[in-house]
Subunit: 473 residues, 2 copies
């Protein structure tokens, strides 16, 4: 298997010489056997069987910090993928985002093992109670010294809904309306309830905190009611740094309203360029600075000492792909079940009304390639829905610089197929090359994640809607 034709952007010109805007790196991970690469846990270098040991994660955090990454981002799901074959068999057998551990509780331990890197924690605004979520994230902000980000998700799986007290999903757009209301409650709790400096342990005055600087949240929304003061004082960032990755129209609008960083997933620079341009324009329309959101493009990187060795390495990865696991993952994303269809027949022979739309990206491949379901699975299994960059450190650096120049992204969310080997190899081989070229924008110790990613202060900037919730500090 190779990355599909076109994935490395055939439709744009090479990067101009001298295009060397420094960019950010984030590591895209998940506390589960298979994040985006079903079957790759079988690779001889995989150590992901240790995913349920804390030391695996503290070591990975140090690895990517040493590699100049700014953040380790932890995805999450709250249900099992059960679309493929109408059950969980391929999901369980393949370890496809299952078992999945709670990412939040590992963060302080990873922070204690590092000095500069930030940690992105996924938590569902649909299923967490705002009053408790505010406290958990504030606690993480305290315990990391301001190095935590919250990845806001609304949770898209029916399997999550039915195990969490709902009979079925809240409809998509209503989920985002509820999320808007929850965010307002959270801003009240993080920005408007306990003023910065209110907790001061003044022995002489006998005051732990000034009562006149602690305010009721006074949130009385249609769905969210939080009348009282927050359970704790805000951490160094106040509101934790906010990630969001919604791809729908409503999700994009939510991101323009709230996010400080978003992920772009697209197979070509042209796709990502459109996303970046829409984001910048949308921000301006929304009254925020055009660069108020950091855009990170997802990439999977397979690196070796030479281009040839890297190509061989990728070929070796393909031997381990779990086709059923990949189709279970793809089924979860799309809601389409292709179990029972011939994996080796050209797609046009297995297209039905039910799967036509989900398969359109492949049946209508502009390169003219004829895909099979096995090809789709292999495409998903290495790189997910983003590009796979394969080559020597120089080639990978060239490609990342080219992507940056052609798309205008602020950096990359680097995913690994063989874990943790691909991130270890990136840190060992690619990061030194990026440093040599002066294009790696690294975090500084003693600064919050927001400072390191935005370049501005530790708190929400004045053009963010959460800023208006602030009480005098």
């Amino acid at each position: 298997m190779t990355a599909p034709d076109g994935a490395a952007a055939p439709d744009v010109a090479p990067a101009p010489d001298g295009a060397s805007t420094p960019f950010l790196l984030s590591a895209f991970e998940m506390m589960t056997p298979v994040h985006q690469s079903p079957g790759l846990w079988r690779h001889p270098e995989s150590r992901i069987a240790e995913f349920d040991r804390l030391a695996y994660w503290t070591r990975l955090a140090r690895t990517v910090e040493d590699g100049g990454f700014s953040a380790l981002f932890l995805a999450d799901v709250l249900g099992l993928y059960d679309v493929y074959g109408g059950g969980i068999e391929a999901t369980v057998r393949g370890g496809v985002q299952w078992p999945v551990l709670d990412p939040a509780v590992a963060v302080p331990a990873m922070a204690a093992a590092t000095e500069r890197i930030g940690f992105g924690v996924t938590a569902s605004v649909t299923y967490e109670r705002p009053y408790l979520l505010a406290r958990t994230l504030a606690t993480l902000d305290h315990f990391t010294g301001g190095r935590v980000a919250w990845n806001i998700v609304t949770s898209y799986q029916d399997s999550a809904a039915r195990n969490l007290g709902l009979d079925r999903q809240i409809p998509h757009d209503a989920r985002y309306d509820l999320a808007d209301e929850a965010l307002h409650a959270l801003y009240r709790l993080w920005e408007g309830s306990v003023e910065p400096g209110a907790v001061r342990f003044d022995r002489a005055a006998g005051v732990v905190a000034d009562p006149d600087r602690v305010h009721p949240a006074a949130v009385a929304g249609a769905h969210v009611r939080v009348p009282d003061a927050a359970l704790t004082h805000p951490g160094p960032q106040g509101t934790p740094y906010l990630f969001q990755a919604g791809a729908s129209a409503r999700g994009r609008r939510f991101a323009l309203d709230h996010a400080e960083a978003v992920f772009a997933i697209g197979p070509t620079p042209a796709h990502v360029r459109r996303f970046v341009d829409q984001t910048r324009a949308g921000l301006t329309e929304a009254g925020r600075s055009a660069d108020a959101i950091r855009v990170l493009a997802m990439v999977t990187v397979v690196v070796a000492e030479t281009d040839e060795a890297a190509a061989q390495r990728l070929a070796g990865y393909a031997e381990h792909v779990d086709v059923a696991g990949a189709l279970a993952l793809w089924g979860g994303w799309t809601g389409v079940d292709v179990a029972g269809l011939d994996p080796d027949a050209p797609l046009e022979h297995v297209v039905t009304d039910a799967n036509r739309s989900a398969l359109a990206a492949f049946t209508e491949d502009p390169s003219g390639r004829t895909w099979t379901l096995r090809d789709v699975a292999e495409f998903v299994a290495i790189g997910g829905r983003g590009p796979v960059i394969v080559g020597s450190p120089e080639t990978v650096a060239d490609e990342l610089q080219r992507w940056q120049a052609e798309t205008g992204v602020d950096g990359f969310n680097v995913s690994a197929a063989v874990r943790p080997a691909d991130l270890e190899r990136f840190a060992a081989l690619v990061s030194p090359e990026l440093r040599r070229r002066g294009v790696l924008r690294e975090p500084e110790p003693g600064r919050t994640l927001r400072e390191n990613l935005s370049g501005a202060g530790p708190a929400l900037p004045a053009d963010h809607r959460g800023h208006a919730f602030r009480t005098a500090g």
Copy 2:
């Protein structure tokens, strides 16, 4: 101020010579400026202003582990105390269990800093969704190597209820009925969903986990519905070790059904003896072994090189008591507001119909002592509702042995007035004396918390109701 007359048990005889059953130690803490001793944060040795830094807690964990403690237990509340004066002013000014951080997220970091000690995490079965709570606690069990306990609370504050989606409290007994249902769901998720060994990363077979060893939880209760399989596999203990501290009749019955350890709080050995006897008898009636529950008595220890120095030290503590803060704490526990009453008048002059029952323990002091509200505050502020043991290491060891002999408790839950000094001093001064006498039952590395506390295996014993939920492993 001294500990109130009678607090050190005037109504029982001295311990018999040779009574040397080894006992367990747990440290009773909370991630907040004031846990049980309002005002003592002002003591010159207090470092509790660092409570919002992770290093404070990892260091404390090492301290008590070095002192031979088996567990560090973290209390929690989900609302502000707002009874005293009808508001939060005394609570905020005094830092009375506010701000309060999320205890769960610090546990893996504390586990990484230690080898033997277990961690008790308080979480509310009323407000946490069982499907997510199961995952969080299983994750903690994995990341601590089986060293986590869950302290099951149903949350008693109206202030928690109204900020967490309810207009007011669920009535007390109904909360426990709901808790029973939630526990059954949790047993299904921890014991019955993913069989031990099902997750095995078999490269040759291409199997992360065996689908036929993963079962739907199939919980369809009146209030709790969890149809699907757990989000993750169980940790080394399966069900985490279960603490519970309910004092009501319904709460006691719940403990007899579910708990593996409980806390006893009583001012005299006679009080605690009754509690222990009732627990042993209740366990037998419930079909469990009479020693199936470990009973730990709460004590506050003030130790110095000599008895005289310890008495002086306690006198110094009294100078820092925060009377309003103590009455805010007591008001939260009892629901009775004594703001506006003369703190220095004999209690009989300030008793009203509203506070009569809550003050009865003091107005009807069998020693005949006449109390004032200030006395009540000072009593609460050093030692909470349990005894204060004051003296040299030898005296403290004598007293702990006497309490153990007279009450039959399995150990002590040691609370600190000046934090972390009192626990550091206990570890430095009392623990060596207990070791010299051979009465300190210490945890062993490489064992789970359940093994270290119960002396049996890592999983729930056969006479625990959760055991029946187990599927073949």
